[in-house]
Symmetry: C2
Subunit: 333 residues, 2 copies
DNA sequence: TGAGCCCGTGGAATCGATTACACGGAGGAT
DNA sequence: ATCCTCCGTGTAATCGATTCCACGGGCTCA
């Protein structure tokens, strides 16, 4: 592969001049400029980004450590992140943590080794020393969706409190009183928050959230299935199950179906995170929709701000309730 | 960030010795080795992958240019690719082409600039000069799922012919005779092949595939919707619509639903690519399942073989039919 | 005791870019 | 005519690693 020296030789100038042309530096004669351009075209020369990065100490690459690529919410997030990053002249290197702290650490380490300019993370846990150290050492970093308390890093996320209140109001209006939740891992903020928001909303209606109605899931399909089976085995099973993410909702659907029960006649189902398939499931699933695209774009902007020396602000966007049929007939529109 | 010089100074040895310790070179004294280790730990030193890559001319990174990240088939593929790559000591840099040749080219160019060791592509078109040149210039490359004829690059894909025959047999057995297909872009191999396989399978039953029953889609939801509307407007609409990918099937479902029609009573629906949501759609959708994980792993192995100087073989794996209820009641099990 | 080897080590070149610094020549001001 | 300034250019240092080569010392063996 041709290097800058080859171009210089071909154009009959020094490598410095070639570099200046490539970087649009003003002080190059028109003559030299055209000769270099010609040489570049003739050789099909492309600058070696590795060498450039070594010299300039910037890679123009962002790391994105995502909790789970198989979760449509995160793939949508990844897509908007890449889009915005591309618009700003950055590439994105994605690492999939599969909700496993060890994998998350592996990716953070690899990305740091590759000297990405900044890191976007939705932490699967409370934060390993590695990540905390990186944040403290000044690696530009932004948390998306989930975050770690007590770390000085901007957070871009969605606040589901109001939407959860709307959901509970909706359920209460349909006459449901025994409401259960499949929670996410307590080590994640979203795992905890959604339970709290649910509990508070229930309290507003004088309803209780007994321990038996809090199932511990891990944001994966199987846990949704397992927890739902537990709910159904209860002497007094809940009337509605609220899954804290879309994959656990899928597991819940599996479990209900496996018992020969029907949604919503026998059990209602609602989910956090709306995905396009929920329109066509049997029945269509009532869900809380996050402004995923906006989240991804805001996160990239905050990160790039940090990288380029600007403040880089936290952003919180509201989520909203999308009522479908999985909890009973909706009120006539 | 600490460099190898800092480690050398801290340990009281030369950078050469530090490098040897880091790379497990045998000829280093135990004494020097422990001193270097201590210095590494004390400084929290991590080798700069950029510098290493420049010197060794390898990045231990693979590029994966995927047709569409929002398509669950491809995200599953991406996941298995990353998994296998990680097991072999490589990272994966993903580029999302969104079925757009210009975006595909952008990513190929960026990845090449970053000097990834090899490229995994599922081409969205017949191949830009850029990609063809790269292949000819000897960049290790492997095509996954889709490929470009006439280029000397291993292909890892799934053969759906047998499964399509099974599908047609199934449909014929249910009494359906007017069968239509939503095709993918003619510029892609999968876009063309699936139509051909369908046509041949129909022919075996003495059935014809009239032009009116071939809708031109682009593997995206909207096109599935649009084509299906066209089918439903026909004086004699098809009894079953076969979508060449899962997203177009979703669009088809939208279109049918919007007309107030039911699947399978009014129109049957089948899809290429099976995804977990198909179990819970209304009705569950009959689909052709590819061994996606195996495909991803085989592709990585083939690519790494090429990179490391071994042959790197093409692989073709069979797909299989998964019968559900979207084309009518299945035969009793 | 001297020749030859092997082992552990360090010096320095190298990868491909960017950029500070120096230098020669042209042109303007005095 | 002399001096100063600017412009376009090249030389060389630099980024952080890897690795070839040379060197000194201890060993074995004759």
């Amino acid at each position: 592969m041709a290097s800058i020296k080859d171009v210089a030789a071909e154009a009959g100038v020094s490598v410095a001049t070639v570099s200046r042309v490539l970087n649009g530096h003003p002080s190059v004669s028109t003559d030299a400029r055209t000769r270099v351009q010609a040489a570049v075209d003739a050789l099909g020369y492309r600058p070696n980004a590795v060498a450039r990065s070594l010299r300039t100490d910037q890679t123009r690459a962002l790391g994105l450590v995502i909790s789970d690529v198989l979760n449509p919410y995160f793939t949508e997030l990844a897509r908007s992140v890449e889009e915005e990053a591309r618009a700003l002249g950055y590439s994105v290197v994605i690492g999939n943590a599969d909700e496993r702290p060890d994998l998350q650490d592996h990716h953070v380490r690899t990305l740091l080794d590759r000297r990405i300019d900044g890191l976007l993370v939705s932490p699967t846990d409370g934060g390993s020393p590695l990540m905390l150290d990186a944040a403290r050492a000044g690696t530009p970093m932004v948390f998306v969706d989930r975050w770690i308390p007590g770390v000085d890093v901007p957070v871009v996320r969605s606040d589901g409190r109001a939407a959860v209140r709307d959901l509970v109001a909706h359920l209460h209006g349909l006459g449901h009183r025994r409401l259960a939740i499949i929670a996410g891992p307590a080590a994640t903020t979203t795992g905890r928050e959604r339970v709290e928001a649910f509990r508070e909303a229930l309290a507003a209606y004088g309803l209780d959230l007994p321990d038996a109605y809090i199932g511990q899931g891990d944001f994966q399909v199987d846990s949704g299935r397992r927890v739902t089976e537990g709910f159904l085995d209860l002497p007094e099973p809940p009337q509605v199950v609220f899954a804290a993410d879309n994959l656990m909702a899928l597991g819940a659907l599996d479990a209900v179906r496996a018992r020969g029960l029907r949604v919503p006649e026998d059990v209602g189902l609602a989910a956090f995170d709306d995905i396009r398939w929920f329109v066509h499931t049997d029945p269509p699933i009532t869900a809380i929709a996050q402004p995923t695209g906006d989240l991804g774009r805001a996160a990239v902007r905050a990160l790039v701000d940090r990288i380029e020396g600007r403040p880089g602000e936290s952003v919180t966007l509201p989520a909203r309730l999308v009522v479908r049929r999985s909890c009973g007939e909706p009120a006539p529109a």
